[in-house]
């Protein structure tokens, strides 16, 4: 089979963009979520309200920021406030979606961006929570975006930086996290995954173009649940790719 006419970043961006709903609020970080939001605004979600943790609400994403507080995060926005206001707004239940990433994820959607190895004697010191923990605590539904391999999809994350469903059903609520929140989707280079209603464990919903169910399972360290019907994602459309390459990231900083 020949190589597809898009790379893995483009695939992640297009897949994530399709999950963004019009007329709702979404925490957007720099990188892939930002490009996905810009793409969604140009296609099916012109009224998507991007919320940037350092203060920008409702920006129109015409150019790409390289920093989470860059001028583009409040370009033609409806409000420019600060981090405390934004996260308090999420803590009050106003923010529907949150996009996250991480070095490791487990079957319950717990994410690690803090250390590989022991916290006090780390093998690799990663950046830390940043806004990740806040987004994962307060957004109603979180969507993690990451490359898919066994090193990233692990039995146990070395450190729970950002809570997923923790140890299973009811665990979030027992620790005091806002009721009814938690991981919703995981978008990867191989698949789109969700979380099974009862067990709160990760479940394969659809494979990316040309990927088999077995390949997804082989690249996942934990046992993967399968949806009753596992779908196949359509590939990025020529229009999605054109917008990404010619308008959104014309300088190819991310793609």
């Amino acid at each position: 089979m020949s190589d597809p006419p898009y790379n893995s970043s483009e695939l992640l961006i297009c897949t994530a963009a399709r999950l963004m709903e019009d007329g709702t609020t979404a925490f957007i970080g720099t990188g892939i979520p930002m490009l996905a939001a810009a793409l969604a605004q140009r296609l099916h979600a012109p009224n998507l309200v991007p919320v940037f943790e350092f203060g920008g609400t409702g920006a129109i994403l015409e150019t790409l920021p390289l920093a989470v507080g860059g001028g583009c995060t409040f370009n033609r926005a409806v409000a420019a406030s600060g981090i405390r206001d934004i996260v308090e707004t999420a803590q009050r239940g106003f923010v529907e979606y949150g996009f996250l990433g991480g070095a490791q994820i487990d079957a319950y959607g717990n994410l690690n961006t803090t250390v590989i190895g022991e916290h006090d004697h780390p093998k690799v010191r990663l950046p830390g929570s940043g806004g990740g923990n806040d987004v994962g605590s307060h957004a109603w539904r979180t969507i993690a975006i990451m490359p898919h391999d066994r090193k990233r999809f692990v039995h146990h994350v070395d450190f729970i930086t950002t809570p997923g469903y923790l140890t299973g059903p009811g665990a979030r609520e027992r620790t005091g996290l806002p009721r009814g929140t938690g991981p919703y989707r995981v978008v990867t280079t191989l698949a789109v995954l969700g979380f099974e209603q009862v067990s709160k464990r990760m479940q394969l919903l659809a494979t990316q173009p040309g990927v088999t169910v077995d390949e997804v399972a082989e690249n996942t360290s934990f046992e993967l649940l399968l949806a009753d019907h596992v779908g196949q994602n359509p590939p990025p459309t020529p229009e999605e790719l054109r917008l990404l390459r010619e308008e959104i990231d014309a300088e190819h900083l991310y793609i």
Binding site: G70, G71, I83, R84, S129
Partner: protein, 341 residues
Amino acid sequence: MDRTLPVPPQAPARDTLRILDRGHGDLIQPPDVEAFRAWNRAKSKRLVDKRMSEAEAVRRFIKPGDYIGTELYGTVRCPMSLVHEIVRQRIGELRVAGQGVLELDLLLGAGLVRALDITYIGLEVYGLSNCLRREVESGRVERCVEWSNAGIAWRFKAAAMGVPFIPVRSMLGSDTLKYSAATVIECPYTGAPIALLPALILDVGLIHVHRSDASGNAQIDGISGFAFEMARACKRLIISAEEIVETEVIRRRPDRTTIPYYLVDAVVEAPFGSHPGEMCYRYARDEGQIRRWVEASKDPATTAQFLQTYVDDVPDHRSYLALFGDDHLEKLREPARGRPE
């Protein structure tokens, strides 16, 4: 106990608060709100000229072992000219509130940091911080106490409120909390677990702003990150400003003032003070220089060379800017124009 209000259904039927969990992390800076009040009372409330150079501000107000914080978001509005001066004077053994990219990277690269209340130190689009990795993995940074971004901002908010802690719903259930110095209690009103974050009172805060008058009345354009909270959570506050304006400019639009003068100890005029970071409506990032740092920071020897060239070999911020030249700096203004007045 005489209750005049109806008891909500979930409220615990006891008169003592139950502690459910405590983070293992050290409380690097205990929240002494009484000492903070006394300190603030003693601070001068006179509208006097506080302008001075980076060298003088850093020498007078920062000493080895201090707990310091920088206010910024990513590579935006970074107090770089002040941080260059801390490195130039090699003020070490610092304890630092860690939310940052370029400036904390420099402090780490110069080996000046001993303890961190960390939320994010990284290079954003360029990946992990090489200096953070070296300093933490080698144990030279002796303590890393974990928090979320909002967690740190809320800790400043508690200090700004003048109270010793603030209840929040971030960090619950995570190892971020386990390795923090937060406490989880059973809420006396709802019965649900709630995290209490200790107030964070800085010895010294560093904030770069768009404009300030000579006494430190400071205004920020665009999003304000956590400047409002942090400015009110410092014992000593050093402001650097792109532009020094007459107090009359401030008085015409007092609603725009984020930081009133009585919080401020030193005012430093620093055009392009955030370089190579950006300043909204004024100048964009200097991508070439950021990449130079990212490359240099990969190895201790090239890190030291970089510090030599861009910090030690230039006596002050003006000479630092001269390394880049007016034409180059002027080009950075181009993509940042267009602010409606």
